[in-house]
């Protein structure tokens, strides 16, 4: 014990200096801003840059801004007596134009209702925990576009599925018969002529066969026409036929009544919509798409583009991975073509060339033409994104499915595609952001979306002030930024959620 005591020191150790602080504001500044001469220089340069950008921006938008007024005089420096920043009365005066374009003022509730419906359907779809995803997405991707169409454009229905399919079938049969006849009549003497004439007759026979197939439907259509309300008669006929078909195709009594009930429920829902919107009585007054504009057009074009490009993209992605040679080659050529040209040439193509390709008596609305172009263009981009997802699905998954005896379509639809789409949600959201930004290009083919309305509003001499331009750009810029930034944050959130299991 005594030996040990000899090692006990008698004097105090001099206190060490406190360690350099690495937490808190001071530590943070020391660590990340001022730890070396170069870093100090960069910090100073950054601070100056930030000062030069932020201060004038805040001053312009808030401090020097004019908030009320009725015309340009409110925003002129001579009248205000100081430096004038943003001219917010200009935005107030043009606000309706920015949102609705020239949509008739008494009908704008329809636009608002469409926006609200869309938001109500979209929100639960975006929240991962919300229940009934299948029903919700069905409503959003199938029912909502139809309802939105009748809400925004107006107009009613004259016939239903029986009517349309009968028309389509007899039209197809007729064009086959015509083409066959023409081919047969061009035939000349000799062996090649005989082959051509035989081919022509063959095509004609196919047409005859199609006509024979379409005949019962055509008869049903003509019978329905004689009812007091052809639409409802057609609707009931369609409901009965489709429900019975669903019932039989899903295995009848053996597999339970579920398919029948689903089908009847869908038709009942459709009937309610038709009745509520009065589609059988001519519907809402028609608002021509030329009167649409502003944010309305921006949203219509982007939402339609997103919804319509998904099936196009999925089909092309599957086609590109197909083992059937011609289908694969066609898909590759199609995708590469649309991805190799600028969107604006696609829009010009849709605006100027599409009408030439359709029969002379058949006109397509300008907005619809643009929508077709955008759907094909975005579809090609989505196809590549989805293809990445398809490649990420392990090979064992389709192999296991085929070991269980599932067909190609069941394997794809139930096993491969859902997994692939889950993988590529972030990529798809990115391509939707690109699509949303690209909708601005429609202004070049004279469709006035938000940016188009902004540009048109600059021409108004009532509001010609030095700051009008900057105010307008600031306002629309904020709208675009909110939409795009929101989407990109959502995609990050989804990405993190999908990868959650990897980082734990």
């Amino acid at each position: 014990m005594t030996e040990q005591a000899a090692f006990i020191r008698t004097d105090l150790v001099a206190p060490r200096t406190a360690p350099v602080k690495t937490t808190g504001v001071v530590g943070f500044a020391r660590e990340r801003l001022f730890n070396s001469p170069l870093n100090i220089m960069m910090t100073v340069a950054g601070a100056i840059l930030l000062w030069l950008i932020l201060v004038p921006t805040v001053k312009f938008l808030f401090v020097d801004a004019v908030w009320t007024g009725s015309d340009r005089n409110a925003c002129l420096e001579a009248n205000v007596g100081r430096v004038v920043g943003a001219c917010w009365p200009f935005v107030q005066a043009k606000f309706d134009q920015f949102i609705y374009g020239f949509y008739p003022a008494d009908q704008r509730w329809r636009v608002n209702l469409t926006f609200v419906l869309g938001a109500l359907l979209l929100l639960p779809l975006l929240i991962p925990r919300a229940p009934a995803k299948a029903l919700n997405s069905g409503l959003f991707f199938i029912a909502y576009p139809v309802i939105g169409f009748f809400l925004l454009r107006g107009g009613g229905l004259k016939g239903f599925a029986v009517h349309w399919i009968a028309d389509l079938g007899s039209g197809l049969a007729l064009s086959f018969q015509e083409a066959g006849g023409r081919l047969a009549s061009t035939a000349t003497a000799g062996a090649p002529g005989q082959v051509i004439s035989f081919l022509g007759r063959l095509v004609g026979w196919i047409g005859d066969g199609l006509a024979l197939l379409a005949w019962p439907l055509a008869w049903l259509r003509d019978y329905i026409e004689r009812f007091h309300s052809p639409l409802w008669a057609d609707f009931i006929a369609t409901a009965i036929i489709v429900s019975l078909l669903m019932f039989v195709l899903t295995g009848g009594v053996r597999n339970g009544w579920r398919a029948l009930f689903t089908s009847i429920a869908i038709f009942a829902g459709t009937a309610v919509v038709i009745a509520v919107m009065g589609l059988d009585r001519g519907g809402l007054p028609i608002v021509d798409t030329r009167a649409w504009g502003g944010l309305l057009v921006t949203l219509v074009v982007s939402v339609t583009g997103i919804v319509a490009s998904m099936p196009v993209g999925m089909a092309l992605a599957l086609g590109r991975r197909s083992t059937i040679p011609l289908i694969r080659v066609f898909s590759i050529a199609f995708i590469e073509f649309w991805r190799g040209v600028p969107l604006i040439t696609v829009l010009f193509f849709a605006t100027y060339m599409l009408p030439l390709f359709l029969p002379g008596n058949f006109t397509v609305d300008g907005l619809v033409r643009v929508l077709i172009g955008i759907a094909l263009f975005a579809g090609a981009y989505n196809a590549e994104v989805i293809r990445g997802g398809l490649q990420a699905v392990p090979r064992g998954q389709p192999e296991a499915a085929s070991a269980l005896g599932l067909s190609y379509w069941k394997t794809t639809g139930l096993i491969v595609m859902p997994q692939a789409l889950r993988h590529v949600i972030p990529g798809l959201v990115n391509s939707f952001i690109a699509l949303f930004k690209d909708t601005t290009l429609v202004l070049i083919v004279a469709i006035f979306d938000l940016l188009g309305q902004l540009r048109a509003s600059f021409a108004d001499p009532n509001w010609a002030t030095p700051t009008t331009l900057f105010t307008g750009f600031a306002f629309t810029g904020i709208i675009y930024f909110v939409f795009c930034f929101g989407m990109s944050r959502y995609s990050l959130f989804v990405e993190r959620r999908l990868n959650a299991h990897k980082n734990v």
């Binding site: 870093n39 040209v341 600059f458």
Partner: protein, 401 residues
């Protein structure tokens, strides 16, 4: 009784089935026949309708219009162009303007993009935040919005030529665009150009020799002073011996506008600024992701071998990052080229705006003109991606060596 063993199918038939129909076999063949029939039918309808519609509208078809006189002026032409020239020449003028804006845009976008990426990766918190803010802001605003902003809001509100902003007394910035001294080639320009070319070739030869020495003997040769000497010395020598290669035509304010000098159109400036800043935001993200994809251990390994930080970056990290960066970077270059067609919104005379815009409205030959324009962009895309994949192939080869 056991089943008799079945004969294997004929080798030839099985192979034929596989080539013609893929995994679907004969069903695949039937699907292909139906598919071709449908495509042929749609194609027939399209051609037939187009013919009928064009006849009804009395629009000529064929490419004969290319040799007709265009009779409109173009505000910027890199080759001599007058109103009596043909549509074919309009096409060439537009194409050259598109190429000019793309090349200048790609160069600036790459510089800004790399700078912003380095800023975002910098240990300095403030710089990283500013770079991040730039990327977020620029990426989330539509490109057309930005082009119109630069053109309508920034460049159009610059002062008129009389009050123009002057830099160094020879560069003037006003609402008529940027006026800079115009270099006029003198007779000795040819010799000067040859001297530059020789300098470049000599430097490349030295570089490849140095690399060879490095890989063969492990000697590290310092070549940059020699390369710099040949690159600057040879042209300087040529200039001293044969006289100055270019003389500058200085701009002067005369009346309400500038005389002399070369004018950069405000449309060109707006388009280039918007395209390069927009694409730079995407390039920055690509470069950042590429650099971050190289494992930290590579840097540490370089340091443990005694390489300096700069050497490790140049010889170890960047070549590996380039492999990740290159394919998406190619896409961004292509996007910039394709996006230059937005020039039509502000009236810069690029291929799309003079050819698919003015020429189309004058001749009405939509099919030919749009097909030709789409074909050019398609070709540009294919050529660019071919060049980039060649570069990628070389890079991979040198990494494998």
């Amino acid at each position: 009784m056991a089943d008799a063993p079945r004969k294997p199918p004929l080798r030839l038939v099985a192979r034929l089935r596989r080539t013609l129909g893929g995994q679907a076999g004969w069903a695949g063949v039937v699907i292909q026949i139906l598919f071709v029939a449908a495509v042929v039918w749609i194609g027939y309808e399209i051609v037939e309708n187009a013919r009928a519609n064009l006849q009804a509208q009395r629009i000529a078809s064929g490419f004969g219009f290319l040799s007709n006189t265009a009779s409109f002026a173009v505000s910027q032409a890199l080759i001599p162009f007058s109103e009596s020239d043909t549509y074919a020449r309009v096409f060439v003028v537009g194409l050259l303007n598109t190429l000019l804006v793309s090349i200048v845009g790609i160069a600036i976008a790459t510089i800004i993009g790399v700078a912003v990426a380095l800023g975002r990766l910098s240990p300095n918190w403030l710089l990283a935040r500013i770079s991040g803010g730039y990327v977020e802001l620029i990426r989330n605003l539509p490109l057309l919005f930005q082009i119109l902003f630069w053109y309508l809001a920034v460049l159009a509100t610059l002062p008129n030529p009389r009050q123009s902003i002057s830099l160094l007394g020879s560069v003037f910035l006003s609402n008529r665009g940027l006026v800079v001294p115009n270099p006029v080639p003198q007779p000795s320009f040819g010799v000067f150009a040859v001297a530059i070319a020789v300098g470049i070739v000599a430097s490349l030869v030295m570089r490849s020799y140095a690399r060879h020495q490095l890989f063969a003997k492990g000697e590290k040769l310092t070549i940059w002073p020699f390369a710099l000497a040949t690159l600057i010395g040879l042209p300087a020598l040529a200039a001293v011996m044969f006289g100055a290669p270019v003389k500058f035509d200085m701009p002067e304010l005369k009346g309400f506008n500038f005389a002399g000098g070369a004018r950069v159109l405000p449309e060109f400036a707006a388009l280039t600024i918007a395209l390069s800043t927009y694409t730079a935001a995407f390039i920055a993200e690509i470069v950042r992701a590429g650099i971050q994809s190289v494992p930290k251990g590579q840097m540490e390994a370089g340091a443990s071998l005694g390489l300096t930080r700069g050497q490790t970056l140049r010889q170890v990290v960047i070549p590996q990052a380039m492999r990740v960066i290159l394919p998406p970077l190619t896409n961004q270059y292509l996007n910039l080229t394709k996006n230059s067609s937005l020039a039509v919104a502000i009236g810069y005379p690029d291929l799309f705006s003079v050819f698919a815009g003015t020429a189309l409205s004058q001749t009405g030959q939509a099919v030919e003109i749009i097909a030709l324009t789409m074909g050019v962009y398609l070709l540009l895309s294919l050529v660019t991606s071919a060049i980039m994949s060649f570069y990628g192939w070389r890079l991979n080869r040198s990494l494998a060596a």
